[in-house]
Symmetry: C2
Amino acid sequence: MSWQKVLSDKGYRVSGPRRLVMELLAESAQPMTPLEIYQVLSQSGRALGMVSVYRALELLAELGLVCVVYNPNGSSGYVAGSAGHHHHILCKRCHRTITFAGSEDLSDLIRRVEAETNFRVSDHLLQLYGICPKCQKISADPVEDN
Amino acid sequence: MSWQKVLSDKGYRVSGPRRLVMELLAESAQPMTPLEIYQVLSQSGRALGMVSVYRALELLAELGLVCVVYNPNGSSGYVAGSAGHHHHILCKRCHRTITFAGSEDLSDLIRRVEAETNFRVSDHLLQLYGICPKCQKISADPVEDN
DNA sequence: ACCTTATTGATAATATTTTTCATTAAGCTT
DNA sequence: AAGCTTAATGAAAAATATTATCAATAAGGT
């Protein structure tokens, strides 16, 4: 289902700022912060308010159309979200982020932890960090911003 | 190894603010934000500057003595960190957070994702969310702040 | 008890996020 | 296609959060 349809089915309008933010994130290989999104869009002529970026992200995240991802250093950013249960893997060097399908791989772990802790687990956050194929080729530049 | 020893072995001093922050987090069942830490400590007479809280957290996190955990809603906080590879499980109702040992449970998943994506995975972020034993008993209060 | 210097804390400077509210435009209804 | 209704925007201000500066303090060695 298209993101436009998700919005309108929920009674939200497909407005200019929402479209700009959504399309920019869909094109971007890297997670972006609200400020980065604002700057890129502003500079490319598409004027919109910083506030709208925040509001668009908030709504799109709530609807699952974008996701927050966390960098190992603690900073975070937004990426366009695909449907269904999935997780993200981030390149520590270039920050390229892609999605991988969630699976049952965690169920053993979750069962174990439930038994150990008596928590009842309903949800989880999983992200992998590593080096993407492109950066593996570009041998060893010391880009220390992981 | 005690956190005091970790600090001094690295050439850092075991100062008042660092002790206060570390001990508070060690006692707390819930993750705390810098502001919360500052407020609790200030109100209990132990005066220290907000700035020192930030600096202490930054250093303690760098040394692995405290960890950042993420709430499902996007907010984050600090918890005292145990040694070794571990993850956290958070109660969505009361925010109680405990640690569970990391294991090899993810290795199959990681291998699969490496094969699928050609990333080389070196690290990961994993947190579980659920309901803690205490909150399971307190049947169903609708505390909608997950 | 003294010295050296890492660390603190008050203040100021930045940066980030949220609120407010008059104006604009999305999308339904003719 | 023009008009209407109201969700959504954007500019500005307010509120929060974080970082930088630097003189004063205190941790830990001698």
